[in-house]
Amino acid sequence: MKPDEAKKHPGDNLLALDLRGVSKTFYSTTGAKVRALEDVNLVIQEGEFITLVGATGCGKTTLLNLIAGLDTPDDGYLRLGDGLRFGDNVAYVFQHYTLFPWRSTINNVSFGLQMRGIPRKERKSRAFELLSKAGLSGFKNAYPHELSGGMRQRAAIAQALAIQPKLLLMDEPFGAVDDSTRRELQQMLTELWQEHHTTILFVTHNIDEAIVLGGRVLVFSERPGKIVREFNVDLPRPRNRMTKEFTNLFIQIRQALSGQLD
């Protein structure tokens, strides 16, 4: 049981992420202008679990790429909190091609540690510990193509956690697995977050998932992509989908989303 994270850490207002008026425009090969992001304002405190929900292709990935430093905004202000650095403690989990296919599971998890020059023995033992937590200790020598979709995403999360991130960006990481696996993964992620309180920004197009995971749910509009509504989820974790509050929230978010579709 965890109440809203702001209450959990009274006075703890360390900033993890600050975006003001961030915009990004792409030009398609035909020269057409695509306004991917427009005037995005977002402040995230350390330890928050934020979910970002919106239709597929509405610029959510663009936003994550900007935050991860893989792209730069055309306009606006984007700042990571103190001590947060790209390629250091900001991790990113994708939906597809989340693991290096030429590396075994354990070597995938230890990739970040290897890049940091941590000795082989130590990085293997640390990676194995994370694999065990993800329930994959029996698959340490398996290759990604030998794992199921759910296992791959577990391994990908372990790979991200290995670098001890202070900010974890997730781009529809559970979008390609079946429903029951998705629920298992959601539960695992919730438990991990409750244990470490890593700041998480989680992108999904699944409203149910956004409510189950997030402390705050941000509703993203389509073309141009911008945050149109924000919902606090004051429900105890692990969250019960069968409560009235959950359902009410679901309907509100659905309305906010479909309002955008009109």
């Binding site: 991860a68 990113y92 296919p101 990739f111 193509h145 670098i163």
Partner: protein, 285 residues
């Protein structure tokens, strides 16, 4: 159609056995009968004469070495030249593919030199390197080993033969590396050098190995042709040519069979290496 498929399966290993045993035996039998009938062994020797030559690989021919010693010389030249081509080709391919300005700067010259038959380089190579050998490069005139037979000109031509397939395939491989892997490596803290070593290199390994396989095959083609040219004095291609000048068609055919079998073995070995090292090929998820 269904029935045909079934009956194909029912045959088991028989088609392979036919291909590996029955067909060669039939061809050899026809050859033997035709050769005996023709009775002109300097043009068309019987199988038995060729087998007799193959059974004595150490026999000296015209003071030009044996089938075995000349085969070893050719193989040594190929392996040296090909190794250099592999190292240079893979390195340049990766650099060209990952650093755009280098790729754009070098691609035109590669595209012009690539279609040029490596043998065309031979006169130039001999002019530049004279008949310098490997030991002479390090200041030893005669090492009295097989390395005295490794002329730099030959190595250069082999290098040219192997280099282009390796560089173009590696380049294709690098250009085909999924952007996700690069992003992933970057967020996990890979430096530029580490990205080369731990992403570009392994990710393009299937194409690199394809290039190496093509390159090695081409090197084996090129060395035989180069050795058959005037000015050459050793190697299996040289022995083949020399035997032909002396109307020893049994040695010519024995050399041809050796060249073919070695080419097949090189290809087979490269394929095995490929299947073992890139088990993930085509299974990206």
């Amino acid at each position: 159609m269904r029935k045909e498929e079934l009956s194909n399966k029912d045959l088991g290993n028989w088609p392979k056995l036919i291909g590996w045993i029955a067909v060669p035996i039939i061809l050899l039998a026809i050859w033997q009968m035709a050769a005996v009938h023709l009775n002109q062994p300097w043009i068309f020797p019987p199988v038995t004469r060729v087998i007799e030559q193959l059974a004595h690989p150490l026999r000296e021919h015209y003071a030009s070495g044996s089938l075995l010693s000349n085969t070893v010389i050719s193989l040594l030249r190929v392996l040296l030249g090909f190794s250099l081509a592999a190292i240079a080709g893979v390195t340049l391919g990766i650099v060209m593919g990952s650093i755009r300005i280098v790729g754009d700067a070098i691609e035109p010259i590669v595209e012009v030199l690539r279609p040029l038959c490596p043998i065309a380089w031979l006169p130039f190579a001999i002019a530049v390197f004279k008949l310098k050998t490997l030991p002479q490069l390090v200041g030893v005139k005669y090492s009295h080993t097989i390395f005295d037979q490794v002329q730099l000109g030959m190595i250069f031509v082999i290098f040219v033969g192997g280099f282009f397939p390796v560089v173009t395939n590696t380049l294709d491989g690098v250009l085909g590396v999924r952007r996700n892997y690069l992003l992933l490596a970057r967020t996990l803290g890979a430096t530029r050098r580490q990205t080369f070593l731990y992403v570009y290199l392994p990710a393009s390994m299937p194409m690199i190995l394809t290039g190496l396989r093509q390159g090695l095959g081409l090197c084996w083609f090129v060395i035989i042709a180069a050795e058959m040219m005037t000015g050459s004095d050793s190697g299996i291609g040289y022995l083949l040519m020399y035997a032909s000048d002396n109307s020893a068609m049994d040695i010519v055919i024995a050399a041809m069979l050796i060249i073919g079998v070695i080419g097949a073995l090189l290809n087979f070995t490269m394929r095995r290496i490929m299947l073992r090292t890139v088990r993930w090929k085509g299974k990206e998820v």
